[in-house]
């Protein structure tokens, strides 16, 4: 999962990014002004945008309006010091999905972010079960046939993303876009390396079992699409 934080208080943004990375193992981008933030939000397929309202250059509400006008359905959580009911209502009515007032509890923010992303993939609970694999997205726990499996951060990120989109063909480009933040170097062939290591750790023997490879198209986790 990949998140964009548009927040002019750089330290606040870094704190949130750090916790999101540690607790959710998500890729996080930070933008500290409205113009740059809007550009990043428009050009990258984020799974969530955390948006401040009082931003230099372009206000948060304008960014939200532009996103929705371009039919971008990415979940948006507004994080601002404006606590008047009118502000909250206006934010939600303009298309934001959640609203948090500063100062906030960082664990609550993370929980809300996870819920928003989960919902956007049409899932109601944090535990995803596919075949004999159970993924707890809250605890980052993967259980295969009753046995816990330890995965690296990137392996977990990949599995969680494929699990969220279980039954769909997920292209390598999608995987790269959703697993890496703006700063990291993106090599699409690394995806294959992670896939094979995942298969090994999950104890999947053949290529056809649970993680299916479609040459030049991508990967499917779980049941194949009809």
């Amino acid at each position: 999962m990949r998140v964009l934080i548009i927040e002019d208080e750089i330290r606040l943004a870094r704190n949130v990014a750090k916790v999101l990375d540690e607790e959710s193992s998500w890729a996080v981008d930070i933008s500290i002004d409205g113009e740059d933030g809007r550009h990043m939000a428009m050009t990258n397929p984020y799974d969530l945008i955390i948006l401040d309202l009082g931003l230099p250059k372009i206000s948060g509400l304008k960014i939200l309006q532009d996103l929705r006008r371009n039919n971008m359905t990415v979940p948006v959580l507004i994080l601002t010091a404006r606590d008047a009911a009118d502000d909250i209502i206006q934010g939600l009515e303009m298309g934001s999905d959640d609203y948090m007032v500063k100062p906030f509890d960082i664990r609550e923010l993370i929980a809300r972010c996870k819920a928003l992303v989960r919902r956007s993939y049409g899932r109601a609970t944090p535990v995803i079960e596919i075949g004999n694999i159970s993924i707890n997205t809250t605890k980052h726990q993967v259980i295969v046939r009753g046995r816990a499996v330890r995965l690296s951060a990137m392996e977990y990120r990949l599995l969680e993303y494929l699990a969220m989109r279980a039954g769909e063909v997920v292209s390598k480009t999608d995987i790269v876009d959703h697993l890496y933040d703006f700063g990291s170097e993106k090599y699409s062939n690394v995806v294959e390396v992670y896939i094979s290591s995942l298969r090994k750790k999950l104890g999947l023997d053949s290529e056809s079992e649970l993680i299916h490879t479609f040459r030049n198209q991508g990967y499917v986790l779980g049941e194949l699409p009809v």
Binding site: D8, E9, N15, D33, P56, K57
Partner: protein, 469 residues
Amino acid sequence: MTSLSLKWRVSLWVSTILVVVIVTISIVAYIEFEESHLLNVDRTLLAMANGIAVSLDDFQGTEELMKEIRAVTGRPGWNPSTCYRIWMDGSSTDLLASDTPDSRYGSWLRELPDQNNPSREEPTFVNMGLPHDEYRAVWIREKTNEGTVNIVVAGPSHHTYHEMYEFERLLIVLGGSLILGSVVAVMWTVRCGLRPIHMTAELLKDITHPNIGEVILADKKVPKELRPFAEALNNMLSRLDRVLQQQRQFTSDAAHELRTPLSLAKSTLQTAQIRQRQTDEYRQAIKDSLEDIARMEHLIDQLLVLARLDEVGGDTANGEVQLDVLLRELTESYVKKMERSGGKVIFEEPPDMTIQGDLDGLIRLFSNVLDNATRYGPPDGTVYVALGYGPDGYATVRIHDKGGSIPPESLPHLCDRFYRVGHSRSRSTGGAGLGLAIAREIARRHNGDISITSNPSSGTLVCIRLARN
């Protein structure tokens, strides 16, 4: 002593005036009425007396005279109790009399005043009798061959007094009801006139700070005389509403500004707490949080200064301040700061100048402006500080930096509270947008002001004017 209500006071005044007017009119009317009635009686009596006198002139015996007199005095419609007395001058016995001297009317007829010497041309009229049995008498004297004859004819006049008594009663009833009616009318009018005041008072009772802007007092029912009052009240209410709105805005802005460092500190500490960290990370978190707390302290300090400056009549320590010395010392501290980044602060050799003012406030004022000049100007630029006399004799401090220009649309708002140029909420430069607001308030406390001009070629010039005493 409790003062009477307006209603009663107006009623009292109106009724007093009415009583005076009605009583005066009644008295005049009464006198006129009495005179005109008595005049009628007098004419009749005089005619009788003259008739008797004429009869005396061609005296043909007492019998004839008696007949004549009866014919003259006993005419129909005239009260039969008309009485008369005829006697010669100097004689104590009557020639003729309707009544004996010891009878009721006879005795009255003998009590005439004797100082007059009436004639036919100049008769004397006399009132006599008792209350409710008043008599009017005419007395004339006629010269005959035998001597001067006195003739007195008297007739009852009590019917006149009766009519006058009726008239008096009429006046009392009419006047009384007029007074009563007027008082009621006045009270009703006053009450109606005062109703808008009561209504206004009712409206004012319900005013609290959330609805103060919604109350409008002047409607069509308010009488013309009260309209200025209602308008003044409305103006006052809208002024208060504006002040309250400003206050609300200020409070919400202040809360907003305090939330930012607070949320920074909280997120920093929670991030550190959420899992086991290295000692360095803890140290950094503590350092960052302390910085946030310092920022909050600074903001609270500024808010308190503004709150004190806002106090009406809040006392300012007043004393002699040597502006040239103060500015030289302040500038020196900025010289060191600017030298570190390769910049300069130049203080042109000033004239000696002393003003009456608040030293702490003035230090704050100049520091805030110098902070801005050294912070927003280029770090290696030069800030010029000059002190002089304005054309109006005011002390004028000019602080000029060759830094970036301020957009013209921002210039009028620079001294507004929480205003930052270009909607920049970025705190990387630190300020909450209160420095210049405080500076302006302090300048105003010194009967002065601050003006700011800015353009890309010459930079930004802040001009502070202060009254010298």
